[in-house]
Each structure stands twice: as C-alpha cells, then as structure tokens.
C-alpha cells in the first residue's frame, strides 16, 4: 500500500474526532486527489433517518402566513436566517444546496391492512414504500428500500454496496435488501472503520498471506455451496444460493478493498466515541472519506430516539414523556422542537463533511444526494407532515436546489373522520391527505437512472396503489412534481 505524507496528515486531521471539530478543514485548497475527471465522479446517496418526525408548526416555513391549502415555493436565499423555522435554522448555511419538501405523507402506512405499531410501521414503510409483510408477527417490509435499490444499481462489485449506520440501539430496521430481508445496522464507528478501511490498512507481514489467501479460500468454500445446494430444495436452496452469491461478491470485495486508496485512515477512539455527538461526528467523517475514495456509494444513518441530555434533559425519556405529547403539551412541544434542531445540526454536520471534500470542479456534496426523512410525521404517530430535506447531488439530478417546496394536501380522505388524525394544524384542509411519499422514492430512483424490465425509468417503488376505507384507489406511482 502506498501512501503520501499529505494523505496521512489530511486524514489524521479529519479523524481527530474532537466533538464538534470541523471535518477535513485543510481540504478546501488542496488539489483534488480522488477524482481528476469530474464527469467520472460516481453518484452517491445518503439517507439520514431520524425518529418522531417533526413538530410541524416549528418545522414548516410560512414567511407570508401562507394558508395550508395552497401550493407555493420559496427561494431559500431570499429568506433571512431569522425567517427560518426553528427546526430548520441550523441548515441555513447550506441553503443553496437544499430542497425542503413540505407536504408528503405516508398515506399507504395508514391504509396497511396488517399495520404494525406506528413506529415499526413507519420504519418499514418510509424507504420501501411497501406494506407490512409480517413474519410470525415480526414487522417486515415486503420489498427493498430505496437505498438498496440504488446500491444495486450503482454499486461497484468490488466495493461495499452500502453501509447501514446507526445511532442508538436499533429498534426497527429501515434498509431492506428485499422482501423480509432487513439489513443489520452498524452502531460502532470502530467496526465501521474496520469494514471499510481494515483491509487496506492491514499492515502486518504475518497476516498478509491470510488476506491474500482468502480469495482461494472463498473459492474452495464456494465449491461446498455448489455441492450442497442441489441436495436442498426450494427455499433452502434459495437461502444457500443467496449466501453463495454474497461469498462470491466478498471474493471481489476483498480484492477491491485491499486496493483502496483512501490514504491512512486512523481508527476512531472507542472511548471518545462513547459520546453521542463525537460518535456521530466520527461516523460522518469516516463516511465522507469512504465515499470520496469510492469504498462505497450508498449509506443510511439511522438515529433512534436521542438521549435526553442532547436536549438539555439528562436522563429523561424523550420518546414516552415528550414526543407523545408534542401536539398538546407546551413543554413537550418546546423539547421536541429542540430535538428537531439537534437533528438539523446532525444534517448540517453531514453536509459540512461532504462539502469539505473537493471533487471535480465542486465538492463531494455535488455528487451526493442526501435525503433526510423520518418514520413518522410527528411524535404523536401521524404519517402526515412527513418532513423531507433533500441536499446536494446537483451534478446528476436536475432538481432545482435552494428552494422550499410546499405541496398542499390533495389526496382524498383515507377514512371517514380521518382528516385531522394526529396532525398539529387546526387549519388542516378537511378530508385531504398529503402527497404519497412513494412519489419521492420514485423521483430518487429516477435521478439515479434506475429502470424497469422494459428499460424505461421506473415509475413505481413499493406499492402502486392503496385503497381507502370507502374503496377509493390512491395512485402511488409516478414522480413527485416540482423537484425540477
């Protein structure tokens, strides 16, 4: 492995990991190293996923007191920072890179005949657009999630297809490789480092043959799978074939990751990263480096309920004692507003890290679509007011950034008496629901050029329709209007 001195200094700095330290500060005026040709820069996707939706009155922007039943858009550059909503204000510095979408809803989650409890239901539905296909009462999505659809489409066979990262003990998975196939979530930056950079940083001469020999070892293992599979039937053979295919992929990945030129990346300090913010910072820094040297192209970062101290309430139970009252109780509303602000900071930090790495004529952020969503619309289990913040990716999407896009509710009533279920606003348009969130998933898939069997860009991710209680079919296909 060859490494330049500059690499070493650069990445050691990046991974100093002091809480709140700016990522990769020295990069702005450094020659780009990773991708000389901007047209060859890969497309990437990051999904940031946080819990409990938003306190919509503190999240939405209505600088001119726009009514709830009117579509409108704002140029973010035209708003002073003091005009930003409290929950989004930390993102002000990235305003030119943002596309904030206000008005989507997981309507299909409301209409799932086998709905799980609302958090699990939202976690399985948000990125897959699918229904619950429970297994022995265990909630499971019935199809792949958008990050995995993209990973399959743009991943390099000899690199990591995707990373599933998490903050806090994972309650429900969000990323699915396929029906009933949730992917495990990595909570430790140390382990994450080992997965991404371990092979290229393996330095001991004694170990070299073990890594070098792993390819032929896997060849031999493959022969066992070949011998065993025919003796099995049906699902068992399928299960083993999937395993075998992943072993083959690993063979390629072992070679690819050993050859990775990310420079020397120091593993994060397990003790320092016990701290929540330091851990998030470490994951984000490592992810930025991993993307920049093309170790992977897709990642999700799943936050579960954050510890109370991050909102100034050490030891308190933000989920049960605050989120659940975030429409009615003033203290709960204030706390969950702070909660939203803290996560907006996490989003801003992630964008900082991407924007600090030069790539082509711009930065890594220009080649990375970042999408921030949640399992719910708010802490009281609504699927309405599903908060969406999009950033970056300007080199390959045709989406116009720097905007706030309001899509007023226009979907027919989901059920009798449904219209205000769980929603904050007293002025919510009667009998209407938000725009189905599958349309955003379709737009993301299309931005990455995902096509169907006929070679056409996809028009459906997850379900194609949902049925309301009075039998009305809601169309869930097609793109989200207004992004371009």
């Amino acid at each position: 492995m060859t490494t330049t001195t500059l690499d070493r200094r650069r990445f050691l700095t990046a991974l100093g990991l002091g809480a709140g330290s700016l990522v990769l500060p020295s990069l702005a005026h450094r020659d780009r190293l990773v991708r000389a040709d901007p047209t060859s820069a890969p497309k990437r996707l990051i999904v940031l996923f946080t819990a409990h939706g938003c306190v919509h009155p503190a999240w939405r922007m209505r600088p001119n007191a726009e009514p709830e039943d009117v579509d409108f858009e704002l140029e973010l550059a035209g708003l002073g920072e003091d005009q930003w909503s409290p929950c989004l204000a930390p993102l002000h510095r990235h305003r030119e890179q943002l596309l904030i979408v206000d008005g989507l809803s997981q309507v299909s989650a409301y209409l799932d005949p086998h709905a799980a409890e609302p958090h699990a239901q939202g976690h399985l539905s948000a990125l897959t657009g699918s229904h619950n296909d429970e297994q022995d009462k265990e909630p499971r999505a019935s199809g792949p999630s958008i990050d995995q659809i993209i990973a399959q489409h743009i991943g390099c066979p000899d690199r990591l297809a995707s990373l599933e990262l998490g903050m806090g003990l994972t309650v429900n998975p969000i990323s699915y490789a396929g029906p009933r196939a949730p992917l495990p979530v990595e909570l430790s930056p140390t382990r994450m480092w080992e997965r991404v950079f371990g092979l290229s940083n393996a330095s001991s001469d004694q170990l070299a043959p073990l890594y070098a020999g792993q390819a032929s070892v896997l060849d031999r293992v493959d022969q066992h799978y070949a011998a065993l599979a025919p003796s099995l039937s049906g699902d068992d053979r399928l299960k083993l074939d999937q395993h075998r295919e992943l072993v083959r992929e690993l063979e390629r990945r072992v070679v690819g990751l050993q050859a990775l030129e990310c420079g020397v990346v120091a593993p994060p300090d397990p003790v320092l990263t016990l701290d929540y913010e330091a851990r998030h910072q470490a994951m984000v820094s490592l992810l930025a480096v991993a993307l920049s040297c093309d170790a992977t192209r897709v990642a999700s970062i799943l936050h579960t309920t954050m510890p109370g101290e991050l909102c100034g309430l050490p030891g308190q139970d933000l989920h049960n004692d605050f989120a659940h009252y975030s429409r009615s109780d003033p203290q709960a509303i204030a706390t969950m507003t702070t909660y939203g602000t803290v996560h907006a900071n996490h989003m801003a930090t992630l964008l900082d890290a991407l924007a600090a790495i030069p790539e082509g004529d711009g930065t890594l952020l220009d080649n990375t679509l970042v999408v921030w969503v949640s399992e719910l619309g708010n802490g009281e289990h609504a699927f309405e007011t599903w908060p969406v913040v999009i950033a970056g990716g300007s080199n390959f999407t045709s989406w116009r950034l720097g905007r706030y896009l309001r899509v007023a509710p226009s979907t027919p009533a989901l059920a009798e008496g449904w219209q205000t279920a769980g929603v904050h606003e007293a002025d919510w348009p009667n009998d209407l629901a938000g725009t189905p969130h599958q349309k955003l998933l379709v737009s993301i898939a299309r931005a990455f050029g995902v096509s169907d069997e006929d070679g056409e860009l996809v028009s459906q991710v997850g379900l194609d329709s949902a049925t309301t209680s009075d039998g009305t079919q809601i169309d869930l296909t097609g793109e989200l209007d207004g992004l371009t």
Binding site: P184, T190, G234, G315
Partner: protein
C-alpha cells in the same frame, strides 16, 4: 385427520403411553428414526397416501444457520488447547458494541419473536459474510501464532502427519460428521497447493479459514438418509426425512448445549447411539447432566423471558433510586441468569419456581433496588449471595429488577409493556398492535397534570374507550398487577406523583384486578388477585401457562414457527407434551426429554412436496 398409513412401532419405552394416539396421528407426517427403513411416499402408489404425507399438517423445517451465540460457542469449543485454553480473540467475550477492532464480532441478528434460531427470520447480508471471513482470518492468525499449542505437534517438521491431520480432524468436528473421500482429497490438495505457495503454517491457517467459512459449519444441513447410505435407498425423495445420527447429534447439541457436539457426542453418533428413541433419550439424559446444559438451558430462557431487553436503559425515577446503566444493567441481567440457572437445570425443580421463587442471587450494587439491608452478609463487590426476598413483595423472575425495568419506560412503570409481555410469553396470546387511527397519546394524559393522578388512573382511557377495550381489558389487569414496582424495579408501598414539581406527593397503589378479555384463556378469565405476587402464584399453577411454556420451548427446539392449524401436528404435539408436563408437576427435564424424543425433533420436512402422487 386421516388415518395414517404408517403406525408407530410399539417399542416405545420412554414415551408415555397416552402419547400413542398423538404419535399415530403424526407418524406419517414425521417419520421417526426407529421406523427406518420404512418407506414413506415412493412405495405408496395410491393417491391418498402421498396426500396424507403432504405438508398440509406439518410445516417445513427450514435450513438453519448457527445463531451468533452458537457460532461463537462453537468456535470456542473447536479451538481449545489440550489444557483447556481457548482463543484469545474469543476472550474477553463479545461485548455489545464499541469494542476494539481486534475482537471477533458478527452483525446484530434478526430475531422472530425474540428467537434468533428461528430459521425463517435468518437473513444473510453482505456484512455477515464479510464478518465470517474476517473472523476466520483473525482465528487463523492466532492459530498461526500458537500453532504448537493448538496442534500439539510441529507441522513444519511433519506437514501431513501434523498439519493436514489437524485439518482433517478439525473439519470433522466443525462439520459435525465424518468427511467424505472427496472432501479429504480436496483438503489434501488445497494443503499441498498452499504449502507450495506459502508455507506449511500458512497452509494450516488457510485450511482453518476455509473450514469455518464452509456452509457445513455455518449451517445445519440436514440431508437425512441419502443415496450414499444404500440401506436407506428409496427414502431420499421423500419429503419427510429422518435425520442421520450425526444430524441428530447436532440438533441435540445446539438445542441442549447451544454449541457444537463434543468428542463424546460425536462418538455416540459414530457408534449409532442416536438411531432409536431409547438411545436418544439415554444420550440426552447424559447431556442434561453436563455443565454445558446450564448454558444451553439459559439461552432458551433468556430468549423466552426477553432478557435481551435488559440493556441500555437510563432510569430517572421520581422519588426512588436511579439505575446506573453501566453498572447495574449488566448485573441485573446476570442476576436473572443466576436466578434461573439452578431452577431450570437441577433435577427435581419445577417450572412453577421460575414464577414464584423468592431465593434470589444478590449483588452489593443491587441491594438498593430490593430495599434490603444485609450488612451481616458482607456483600462484596463482585460476589453473589443467595438471599430470601420478602414473599409478599417478590415472586420469581418477573419480579426481578431487570425484567421490571426493561418493561417500563425510562421514567415510569408501564403497565402495557408488562401486560403484553405476560400475554405473549406466559399465555401465548400476544395482542395485535393498536389501530393506527387511535390517538395513543391521550391515554397518558400528561396534559391534565393538575390533579394527582396515579399511573393506573392515567391508563383508564384504555378501558373507557371502546376501540381500545377489546385488547386492553386483557392487557391492563396483568400490567396493573405490577404497579407496586416502579421503573427501576423497586417495590414501593405508594407511588410518587410529579404533577407539582415543588413537592412529591405519594399516592395509594391499587395492584388488584380480575383477569378478563377474549385474549385470556377461558379457565383464567374471572380470576381475581390482590397484586402481582398473588397473580404469579395463580399463573404458576395454571395448565395454560404450562402449555404456553411448552409451545415456546418446542418452537425454540425446532427453530421455526409452529403451525397453528387445528389438525396440525405441532398442535397435537404441544397439546400432549403440555398435558404430560402439567401432570408431572412442571418437571423440566422430563419435558426436554419428551421433546428430543418426539417425531418432529428427529426428522425434517423439506420445503416442498417434490413427489408427485
């Protein structure tokens, strides 16, 4: 159910005779080992017989992968030195997270109803395959460093006699069966190639890497009696497959010990000691006496009682002790395990003790939770002493601090979590999730915090509201029974109310109730109780609770969900085992022996009927 065409041989000494009827019913569906060489399907040309043998009443037994615990236990046992040391990379044991990169690890498992061994929930992911690879490299690295210790000889001096012989022996143990000639040849050829390219030591290391990444190690392939075993020819195409001796050894070992078969057990398989019901019973009885059974039995009970939920909670309980998650939470889990271990493994103990015993292992850091003062015991840090807890306050595993705090929110007792647990784990009647259009926030009513409101009163909406009542009529009495235990698991005579931050008020607790609701089995409906202690004593004597325990254990033993159809073999088996179990006074060892000698445990159904009538 149709009369089966095969009846069970009457040489069944270890099974209670009243099992005969049930065995008749399942004989076709799950062909027993001692029935060999009875043909199953192919010899039966008439149409009804294959139908009777179809999967209408028997769910498939899907291919199982080792769980994380089984994987690491197996590595520990496969790589022990003659003087009993194991790999340093396995010691210290795998901690939850934030561990050093040198330690072996696997990604979190997907569980079904808390059971990692349920094959239907086992998903492969890229990271899992990577970790199998990296763990194998790390194991091989240490074998290389301590090669004389692990091999007991010098492979450089005697490559084939030491190095290759070690790999052959290891493969046989890791794959839990004798190697075929082809496999021996492949092992030797790879060994020769690797020696030529690297060195003898590296050839051994790469051999180790291969053996523990093989599907023969990672999975439990159960091919049954294949054409390679000519005396059983004709059985292979059948959709119901009796296990081989070695496959039976693996099932027994992972069920009872949660690890790979040891040399003794493999020898029993080799000697054909696992081909009859009597011999299986005899071998299993010896396995129950092994210290390894403590690990194995604990693993089931930890999954059944969801001890995994005792983790990572920070408690801020008004007017009470605070839990320190880094110190006390791991000790609470250990306490539960120490409490369970003797009850579930010592002969003569009974199931009821799990729910009623007040003899509890105590650690100095936990005495606060139990409100006990035991200076005379001189509890030292790190030392556990059995204490007798007040019988009017505690009864069994569900009144231990770990369970009580894991089934609360961070700050409050949570009757719903506690009640749902009881229905799911003790009565096998898990309620469905609340309807999505129900506003679940109002039940806690924090907005109306002006008047002193007991925790129980805050949940009154459940039974006042018609949409909630169906389920909560059943859930809430079970939960309210535990109102004397706060979120830290402390028993308190009165509960603290925090509506007025300037002053804690103490409110009376009502933990009494009457079991009600359609989810509650008929015989228990209408039972009244004063508090959790009385309720737990009622449940400990209930045939329904015994039956539910059997259901969980059978599900665990078979590594799959149970088919709940009315004529289903699983139901008949559970019903019969439950009856025997209850009549035996909850004798756990007899139950385990009855399971391992049952037909479903000793045979396997492939996923699809591949035989045409």
């Amino acid at each position: 159910m149709d009369r089966p065409y095969v009846t069970v041989a009457a040489n069944d000494a270890t099974m209670p005779s009243r099992s005969q009827q049930m065995l008749d019913a399942i004989a076709c569906a799950a062909l027993g080992l001692m029935l060999i060489p009875l043909g199953c399907v192919q010899e039966q040309p008439a149409a009804p017989e294959p139908d009777a043998c179809s999967l209408g009443s028997v769910p498939p037994s899907p291919l199982r992968r080792l769980t994380t615990a089984q994987y690491f236990n197996s590595l520990r046992d496969l790589f022990s030195t003659p003087d009993g040391q194991t790999l340093a990379v396995l010691d210290p044991p795998i901690s939850d997270q934030l561990i050093s990169p040198e330690t072996l690890w696997l990604p979190d498992e997907q569980t079904i109803a808390g059971y990692a061994g349920n094959a239907q929930g086992q998903v492969v992911s890229p990271v899992l395959i990577e970790r199998y690879g990296q763990n194998a490299i790390d194991v091989a690295a240490e074998i290389g460093e301590r090669i004389d210790e692990f091999l007991g000889c010098d492979p450089e001096a005697d490559p084939n006699g030491c190095g290759l012989a070690y790999l052959e022996d290891l493969a046989g143990r890791a794959w839990r069966r004798p190697l075929s000639e082809d496999e021996r040849a492949a092992l030797a050829s790879a060994f020769t190639d690797d020696r030529a390219q690297w060195s003898t030591t590296v050839a051994v290391q790469l051999g180790v890497q291969m053996i523990i990444q093989s599907p023969y190690f990672l999975y439990l392939p159960e091919l049954g009696l294949t054409p390679e075993q000519p005396e059983q020819e004709g059985v292979a195409g059948c959709s119901i497959i009796p296990l081989t001796s070695h496959e039976m050894a693996a099932r027994l070992s992972y069920f009872l010990w949660n690890t790979t078969p040891d040399a003794w057990l493999l020898e029993q398989a080799e000697n054909g000691e696992l081909t009859t019901r009597e011999s299986v019973a005899s071998v299993a009885a010896q396995m129950l006496a092994s210290p390894r059974y403590v690990d194995g039995a604990l693993h089931f009970h930890a999954e059944w009682l969801r001890l995994d939920r005792i983790r990572g909670y920070r408690r801020e309980v008004l007017g009470s002790v605070q839990l320190d998650e880094f110190v006390q939470v791991p000790l609470l889990r250990e306490q539960a395990e120490r409490f369970l271990a003797p009850i579930i493994t010592q002969p003569g103990r009974s199931f009821a003790e799990i729910l009623t015993s007040t003899q509890v292992p105590m650690h100095a850091a936990l005495t606060q939770i139990y409100g006990i003062e035991v200076p005379e015991l001189e509890l030292e840090d790190g030392l556990w002493i059995d204490v007798e807890l007040p019988a009017d306050q505690r009864a069994g595993a569900l009144t231990l601090g770990g369970h009580l705090s894991a089934h609360a929110t961070d700050s409050r007792a949570n009757p719903v979590r506690r009640g749902v647990f009881m229905l799911d784990r003790l009565l096998c009647a898990e309620p469905p999730p609340p309807p999505l259009d129900v506003d679940t926030s109002i039940v806690d009513g924090q907005g109306e915090a002006d008047l002193p409101t007991s925790n129980r009163e805050r949940y009154a909406e459940h039974t006042d509201n018609a949409a909630c009542r169906d389920c909560h009529a059943a859930i809430d009495p079970f939960g309210f029974a535990f109102e004397h235990y706060n979120a830290a698991g402390v028993w308190w005579p009165q509960e603290a109310w925090d509506g007025d931050p300037s002053m804690i008020q103490w409110l009376e607790i009502d933990a009494s109730g009457v079991l009600d609701g359609a989810l509650v089995p008929e015989p228990l409906r209408g039972r009244s109780f004063a508090d959790a202690v009385e309720l737990l004593h009622v449940l400990a004597e209930s045939p329904e609770v015994h039956g539910c325990y059997v259901r969980h254990l059978v599900r665990y033993a078979l590594g799959r969900g149970l088919d709940g159809g009315p004529d289903a073999v699983d139901e008949l088996l559970v019903e019969q085992l439950a009856e025997d179990f209850y009549e035996s006074g909850g004798a756990l060892d007899s139950l385990v022996l009855a399971i391992v000698t049952s037909e479903p445990f000793s045979s396997r159904v492939t996923n699809h009927v591949e035989v045409s009538p």
